[in-house]
């Protein structure tokens, strides 16, 4: 939902970043306001996943130029935990398995860390149990996944649902979904998309990084950006995604 008067959540200007000495992002500009849904598309290696990881503060990536402001605060001055506590969330392309840490204990720990940051009361295990039982309905997840170790032995689809469960519990202001649709069958995609849609409001925003248009059938973007060679080379409405689906990426690459 575009509302030009709403608050700017994220403002990225001329962002440059490298990994292992190789420049991947070569000047990215992006402004995200509250209530908006953005899709960033592009071929493999275009820099779109790097962009999401740089915003979340992945230690393998080094910012070499440009700025990013999150609600006016300098994002790159914050360590990853501080970014999350400020309201930024990254749903991982490849969620990590953490043997020995139960999903519910992890969720409660993360939730309570945010509660403390926001000056609110922590929840004890019983109170949190009530909260999480409500949240797992959003992703149609079986409660048995809560007592298992984080992502351990989960299928690809279950891991992605677990990411959205974390998003539901943590209620970020800005969520970035990094290829959340990859590896999902059509039913799982529908469930995940439905879950994400139910979490959107006029006060938060979503950035979806995806290779394919099909996720956008379920989560309809206000803006579609195409990344190529470490830059956003085209921005349009949702119809741009359909055009990409029909024509591929080559015509844009040539135009760029």
């Amino acid at each position: 939902m575009i509302n030009k008067g709403s608050k700017v959540l994220l403002e990225v200007k001329n962002l440059k970043a490298e990994v292992a000495g190789v420049e991947i992002l070569k000047g990215v500009d992006l402004t995200v306001r509250a209530g908006e849904v953005h899709a960033i598309m592009g071929i493999n290696g275009s820099g779109k996943s790097t962009f999401s990881k740089v915003l979340a503060g992945h230690p393998d990536y080094t910012v070499t130029g440009g700025t990013a402001a999150f609600e006016g605060k300098e994002l790159f001055a914050l360590e990853p935990g501080e970014r999350a506590r400020a309201g930024l969330f990254l749903a991982f392309q490849y969620p990590v398995e953490i043997p020995g840490v139960s999903n519910s204990a992890f969720l409660r720990l993360a939730y309570n860390t945010l509660q403390t940051e926001r000056g609110l009361e922590e929840l004890d295990p019983l109170e949190f149990e009530d909260l999480v039982q409500e949240k797992i309905k959003i992703v149609e997840m079986d409660a048995s996944f809560l007592s298992r170790s984080v992502n351990e032995g989960f299928s690809g689809g279950e891991k992605k649902r677990n990411e959205i469960l974390q998003m539901a519990v943590l209620e970020p202001k800005l969520a970035i979904l990094d290829e959340t649709d990859s590896g999902l069958d059509i039913d799982a995609l529908r469930i995940v998309a439905h879950g994400v849609n139910s979490l959107l409001s006029k006060d938060n925003a979503l950035v979806m990084v995806t290779h394919y248009q099909r996720l956008l059938n379920y989560i309809v973007p206000d803006y579609v950006h195409v990344m190529d060679g470490g830059r956003i080379v085209r921005t349009g409405g949702k119809e741009l995604a359909l055009e990409l689906e029909a024509r591929g990426y080559d015509w844009l690459r040539a135009a760029a």
């Binding site: 360590e79 935990g81 999350a84 991982f92 840490v101």
Partner: protein, 429 residues
């Protein structure tokens, strides 16, 4: 002036003459002679080459001659609800703190000193721990004042908790915890040897345990070393497994400035099963050494071992695990895994899996890994709002939890989990 290695040893040999009688007196005399001949091991001995004992030699350790009076509330945080309990304070059995009211039929848990006339004690005691080769075992055998006698025929419904408490004393003290366990045929029990300290006193706890499992006996043997930070702890445990028996050890080393635990398990009857789980979790300048040996001497034995070391700061963890498959031990099935986590650039872990096989018809697997905290997992947790310290602690805890979870006493699993988190300062989970 600091004593030398020789002075430290001589001080220990002076010890305190403990009154004993008959058979035990003979063993004690023999042991003292052996101890004097054996002296302290040095790093030139293969079994000790990673283990620096020099910190121990700085002190002269004195025998304990008077005993601190403790109340149940002093040791409240160590108690296990519902357990049968023997409490030893500075090596002395304290009946008022102990609880043997839940003993079932066929289960004897008593102070060793009260049982010296018992033929079964006499028949087993001292025959399993290698006093002729090991100076520490010899010292213990000569100077131990009391210990635990555990005899199980049938099933012990409640866990048996042997709590050894060391108090803070004016001079460095030498303690000699001792334990003898006999599991009759087809018996079952859970035993917890627990070494704790109160206050930050300097003491040397030199513990010896002997365990015999008769046919088809099953023992869950938990050993928790959570001594105080200035303590030295050297423990030895010898186990004999009879036909069809199942022995499971879960040994944890958290405390002490320098600790060493030697666990020697001999499979002496067909189809005996041996499960060894170990964890050393240390920081600061702690040294924790675990030496295990499994001897497969009869056919179709099985052994599964998982040992983990976690070393932070400048700590040094050592694991040496030897598996011997002797001639005649056909059809042996053995798997050993050593997994290690280095939390700092200055921490040090030595791991040494050793297989010696004198037999063709066996299946033996072993492996060792040394790694650091997984960077992706760390980033994942931080991206969910956790501070780096909390994320590290959570991952470390998870690595340790796999071993702790093998303890079949839920209240102990929970309290040890809390202990670990307290040791990782600043964490709250």
């Amino acid at each position: 002036m600091k004593p030398s290695r020789e002075q430290c040893f001589e001080q220990l040999l002076l010890g305190k003459t403990v009154k004993s009688q008959g058979w035990l007196e003979r063993i004690r005399t023999a042991e003292l002679e052996h101890a004097a001949i054996l002296n302290f091991p040095s790093t030139s001995q293969d079994d000790w080459r990673f283990t620096d004992l020099s910190a121990l030699f700085q002190y002269g350790f004195h025998p304990v001659t008077s005993y601190a009076k403790l109340t149940l509330s002093d040791i409240g945080k160590f108690l296990i609800p519902g357990a049968i309990r023997l409490v030893f304070v500075d090596g002395c059995y304290v009946a008022e703190l102990s609880d043997v009211t839940q003993l079932g039929a066929g289960v004897t848990v008593a102070a060793l000193a009260d049982r010296f006339g018992d033929k079964l004690v006499e028949k087993n005691f001292g025959y399993h721990a290698p006093y002729k080769q090991d100076a520490f075992v010899a010292l213990n055998t000569n100077f131990f004042e009391d210990g635990a006698w555990v005899h199980v025929a049938g099933e012990a419904a409640e866990p048996i908790h042997l709590l050894h408490v060391a108090t803070k004393r004016e001079v460095p003290s030498a303690l000699y915890p001792r334990c003898m366990v006999v599991m009759d045929a087809s018996s079952r029990a859970t035993l917890i040897e627990d070494y704790v300290g109160l206050g930050d006193g300097i003491y040397f706890s030199n513990a010896v345990t002997e365990v015999v499992l008769k046919e088809h006996a099953r023992l869950q043997h938990v050993r928790v070393q959570r001594d105080e930070k200035n303590a030295f702890h050297i423990g030895h445990c010898s186990v004999e497994c009879g036909r069809g028996s199942i022995y499971t050890a879960t040994s944890l080393a958290f405390g002490a400035r320098m600790s060493r635990h030697t666990l020697h398990v001999k499979q002496q009857g067909e189809r005996a099963e041996i499960h060894l789980n170990g964890l050393a979790l240390i920081a600061g300048r702690q040294i924790a050494d675990t030496h295990t040996q499994i001897d497969h001497a009869t056919p179709r034995g099985k052994s599964i071992q998982l040992h983990k070391c976690i070393a932070d700061d400048s700590a040094h963890a050592i694991f040496s695990g030897k598996i011997m498959v002797h001639m005649g031990a056909t059809g042996t099935d053995s798997a050993q895994s050593s997994r290690n986590l280095l939390l700092s650039g200055k921490a040090h872990i030595d791991t040494q899996p050793q297989l010696e096989i004198f037999n063709d018809d066996v299946s033996c697997k072993h492996g060792a890994t040394v790694g650091q905290i997984d960077a992706e997992a760390l980033f994942f947790l931080r991206s969910r709002g956790l501070t780096e310290k909390l994320a590290r602690n959570l991952l470390t805890h998870a690595f340790a939890a796999e071993i702790i979870a093998k303890i079949p006493v839920p209240s102990l699993v929970e309290s040890l989990g809390r202990t670990i988190l307290e040791r990782m300062s600043g964490a709250h989970i």
